[in-house]
Amino acid sequence: MKKKILDVQGLSKNFGGIKAIDSVDLDILPGEIVALIGPNGAGKTTFFNCLTGIYAPTGGDIVLHHPETGVRTRLNGMKPNKITEKGMARTFQNIRLFPTMSVLENVMIGRHCRTKAFVLGAIFRNPATRREEKEIIEVSYDILKKVGLHKLVNEEARNLSYGAQRRLEIGRALATEPFLLLLDEPAAGMNPNETEALVALIRKICREGHSILLIEHDMKLVMSLSDRIFVMDYGKKIAEGTPEEVRSNPAVIKAYLGEDVDA
């Protein structure tokens, strides 16, 4: 059996008296596309924020297991940038690009944690620093090619169309060399064509060896893309399984359609 790359056990997050997440378990195997779904306000984004260190979880364990190096890390209480260094990167539901920086520069920022030139390197611009800068630019450009934005390389990020901005966010996250990519509603606000291109992109990224955890409301996308689905409602996990299993699960139908389906 394959080893889990992400293992979440009993994760809880309280805001004052409100249990935003209540003892949720979740795991991801290498090369999987896993979806996390649920009605609005179910706590999906809070779950993401706990995983990526933006919130400190109230209880439970988050363990990340690097598939190649075999390093196990408990992520609870780690800073977001450290978690990214460990190999888990994310995108945001409400796009958070650096609007006045160019498309290329946005991706270059993603390379930050994989490079190391510092104050003295910046001032003296020694051969090592120059080589590193060149490498940053080349790698970033290759990533832009992968997400299909290389034609807009010198454009300011804020001038991009909505779909392109979403893809740029994915590209920026890929620049940090993650083995696990968290996508928070990547298809939100996209037209059908853009969604189709996005599905192809996610499949391609997955084939290249990145596992993916995504939050999404577009059920067609979720059902066609995911290997497994986790369903949350009111902060609790109410179901998990393959798309077929989840589709026919009465608890899921109840959560989405309300109590009295027959009435």
Binding site: R90, R96, C113, A122, T176
Partner: protein, 408 residues
């Protein structure tokens, strides 16, 4: 052509200005003769003047709006002339060399008095460039910058007094000490942004000044420390004038050094991280940038320049006391950055020269010079809120040859 509504508005503005300036322009108290005279004609001048100015301002605004509307069609031409020059190396390099030649020739062309003023202005150029790292590039509003300037000045004064250390020895020490204080200030304010950060840094600046003012055993209190030696040149004795000119060249060298370093920092991995931090802190962290480290580096590098200039200030005036390091200084340095153009090196240089030299050359207006100075600041901010020369950041332009090589 001109709507009545606008005339009414201008009239209201003129009445308001007449009312505001009434105490200083109209009432004149002669304490010796014990008489109060009212100069009503002044009120008329003010009212009429502000009426005309407000109408002219309105006309200007309407016109520039119309121009902007027309320009939208041709976007490429909208880039201002100055920015185009700064972007092109073939214009920029000759211009910088010309500026450098002018700076080197300055003392032989102008009088010692002018050179001395220029030295002061150039000190503010370095201060502005230092604060620009913190405020302009990293986007951390710092109102207590003068504290680091004070740290530099007092480190020279005190190290010289107690250990007899020379200028050139203390120069790097002063910079390092200030950078260390930058980290000290940085730690407690890491979580803060915007207004809150501004208030805390303001408090920090005042704390340093109050310590210097009240800790008599350490800093000699309000009376300050006098007889600080000027910088030496291999032990040569220099006349007073030669000393001033020597000081001038020291600061010119420092300005060149600062521009070089700050420019390289801005166009580096670290500079990019600062820009990203200014735009979105959370996204920055999620992309693996260490917020703590990046912010502290910005604070300490900014403080470093203030420390260097502090040492030079102590050596130039040969006297330091806490009165030189009030909040007003911080405000002036911040104005240099904002007026010049946040994040723009050339802008900050112009900002410093204008803000420091203008009050000197406005002496012709004698007692009204500060009023004129304030007026110019207001007008600048209304009509050019981005600063004199807004930032022309060389964003990383992707060049084709790298892509072909990368594909091979």
């Amino acid at each position: 052509m001109f709507p009545v509504k606008e005339l009414k508005r201008s009239l209201l503005i003129s009445v308001w200005f007449a009312f505001l300036t009434f105490p200083i322009m109209v009432i004149k108290v002669d304490p010796i003769e014990r008489i109060v005279s009212y100069r009503w004609h002044n009120m008329f001048f003010i009212a009429f003047g502000s009426f005309v100015i407000s109408i002219l301002a309105k006309v200007y605004m309407v016109r520039s709006e119309r121009r902007a509307g027309r320009k939208k069609v041709k976007k490429d031409i909208a880039e201002p002339f100055i920015q185009r020059i700064l972007r092109e190396p073939r214009f920029l390099y000759p211009l910088s060399i010309a500026a450098l030649v002018f700076a080197i020739a300055f003392p032989s062309v102008f009088s010692t008095y002018q050179t001395n003023i220029m030295t002061t202005a150039l000190m503010y150029v370095v201060l502005g460039l230092g604060l620009n790292i913190v405020v302009g590039v990293a986007g951390l509003l710092d109102l207590g910058y003068v504290a680091f300037y004070a740290v530099g000045a007092y480190s020279y004064a005190l190290l010289n007094l107690h250990f007899n250390l020379g200028f050139w020895t203390v120069l790097p020490i002063g910079g390092m000490l200030a950078a260390f204080f930058g980290v000290l200030l940085g730690f407690p304010v890491l979580r803060l942004r915007g207004d809150y950060l501004a208030i805390v840094t303001l408090g920090f600046g005042e704390i340093i000044r109050l310590i210097l003012e009240n800790w008599n055993d350490f800093s000699h209190g309000p009376s300050g420390i006098a007889n600080i030696p000027r910088p030496g040149l291999f032990g040569m004795e220099m006349s007073f004038d030669a000393g001033i000119i020597y000081m001038y060249y020291v600061i010119v060298a420092l300005v060149v050094f600062t521009i070089f370093v700050v420019n390289r920092l801005q166009n580096s991995r670290l500079g990019r991280a600062w820009l990203a931090l200014r735009e979105d802190e959370i996204a920055c962290q999620a992309m693996g940038i260490d917020k703590t480290k990046t912010k502290l580096i910005a604070f300490s590098l900014g403080a470093f320049w203030a420390g260097l200039v502090g040492v030079i200030f102590a050596a130039k005036t040969t006297f330091v006391n806490p009165a030189s390091f009030t909040f007003l200084e911080s405000a002036i340095i911040l104005s240099i950055v904002v007026l010049g153009g946040m994040g723009s090196i050339v802008g900050v240089i112009f900002g410093a020269l204008i803000l420091i030299l203008m009050p000197e050359y406005l002496r012709a207006l004698s007692e009204y010079r500060m009023l004129a100075f304030g007026g110019i600041l207001v007008v600048m901010m209304v009509f050019k809120p981005d600063g004199i020369i807004s930032n022309v950041r060389r964003s990383y332009q992707f060049k084709k040859h790298i892509s072909t090589r990368g594909a091979e």
